[in-house]
Amino acid sequence: MSVLVDHLDVFVGGFWLTFQLCILSAIGALVVGTLVAVMRISPIPPLRWIGTAYVTVFRNSPLTIVMFFAAFGLPALGSNADFLRVPGLSSVFSRLSIDLPYFRFAVIALALYTAAFVCEAIRSGINAVSPGQAEAARAIGLTFGQNLRYVVLPQAWKSAIVPLGSVIIAMIKNSALAGFFGVVGDLSNSGINLTSALGEPIIPVFIGVSIGYLVMTVPLGMLLDRVERRRAVAAR
């Protein structure tokens, strides 16, 4: 296991990059997922159809495929995802603004894929809000948008938080795929480099990589368990 000590810098660097990837993708997924959820419950049928189609496609396709399309389809369409080179953001997330677009592609793929699940988590939260709430809001004259904004969504978030947490945990694990699609130096990719380039034995390296992911996912999972349990007690 000395590889963990000898190459600690590699693991820490990989962890940090994966962490950045996850933060950015999570933000993207929450924003896009909320929008899609709103589309799916909107009173305008075409919007509903688009929302449903979005969720059906992304929920039912492997993430590898989505990553493939992001990594090879976007460039084929002529995009290097330069819109993600947001000046302020790049000072923290330096990978966003470099010329090589793979980090941006990975963020896009992870965010779009995860958004479908975020949408469903939020929808389940919206369904958990008693219909009387929305009805009362309509009865005092709030429009659809105001109703969502001031009455339904603030309450939906609460019961969506546990499913959303599970979605984010799944996303963190899914981020391990980014290494296959050209993101250099993330946690699982640095594991692969340690083994292939430096000839480190595979098992200890991947134990190290697993620990890196568990450090992110297990505490989040425990937090969710606690929220869930507190909620269950409160519901009695």
């Binding site: 009173p43 309509r138 009865a139």
Partner: protein
């Protein structure tokens, strides 16, 4: 009763009813829930709707502010046909207060926020003045001291009074009540009926679905008896209770009045 006629005069169109339904039909799938309903409610009038469960009372109530769209017929409110959707519908709804059986206070907002939300977001009132008016309304319904609590912290009767204040805060031209007391423990029914009676006395136009015969007798101008989606009877309360014309109303009253 003085203020009431006053209110009527102010609007200057006392002869035109505030609410008018003409040949209204509503189906839920195969179920014909409202059958050719004609009804008009004058400004300042208090109409109580009674009838057996499933007869369509709630649906009637909800049709009036278009929470439930109708299949045919026309509904006219304040001389305007009900708008189909969008901003115009939202505006119409803001002029018709509605009070639900299950209160439906916004669970994540304090009582005060519940009451000010509509005025601020719909009527675009200043927060300060909305709050001030809200406090007056809460005082009027007797729960000013609960303003900063959340709905779950209040008793059923307090919640329902807050819901009435929330509806009043929009300064509606009419109020709809759908069994406002039937989810309440018996000792709390009185406090809500008191508020409603005082509203009626102040000249508010009201349509009230209720099984509280006492309220119907003392506060209503007319009692309407519904059965199977039809308005079967429409009479002054004294007349109706003393002398129901239809068999169904007789039957219904005999069951209801035994306890």
């Amino acid at each position: 009763m003085t203020e009431r006629s006053e209110a009527g005069e102010v609007s200057g169109t006392t002869d035109q009813p505030l609410i008018r339904l003409d040949g209204v039909n509503k189906w839920f799938g195969p179920l014909h829930v409202l059958q050719d309903v004609d009804l008009s409610v004058a400004r300042g009038e208090v109409v109580v709707v009674i009838g057996p469960s499933g007869s369509g009372k709630s649906t009637l109530c909800r049709a009036i502010n278009r929470l439930e769209p109708i299949n045919s017929g026309t509904i006219i409110f304040d001389d305007q046909p009900l708008p189909a959707e969008g901003k115009a519908l939202a505006r119409l709804r803001s002029e018709v207060g509605m009070v639900f059986q299950s209160f439906n206070l916004f669970a994540h907002k304090t009582i005060l926020e519940n009451v000010t939300l509509g005025p601020i977001k719909v009527r675009k009132e200043k927060a300060a003045s909305a709050r001030e008016r809200a406090m007056k309304l809460l005082e009027r319904v007797g729960i000013a001291n609960q303003a900063d609590k959340y709905p779950a912290q209040l008793s059923g009767g307090q919640q329902q009074r807050a819901a009435i204040a929330r509806a009043l805060a929009m300064q509606p031209k009419a109020m709809l009540f759908d069994e406002p007391t039937s989810a309440l423990d018996p000792e709390m029914v009185g406090e809500v009926l008191d508020v409603m009676t005082s509203l009626a006395r102040d000249g508010m136009t009201m349509v009230v679905v209720t099984h509280e015969m006492g309220f119907a007798r003392h506060a209503a101008n007319r009692v309407i008896f519904m059965a199977d989606g039809q308005l079967v009877e429409d009479a002054a309360p004294d007349e109706f209770f003393a002398n129901p014309r239809s068999e169904r109303a007789k039957d219904f009253l005999s069951k209801i009045l035994t306890h």
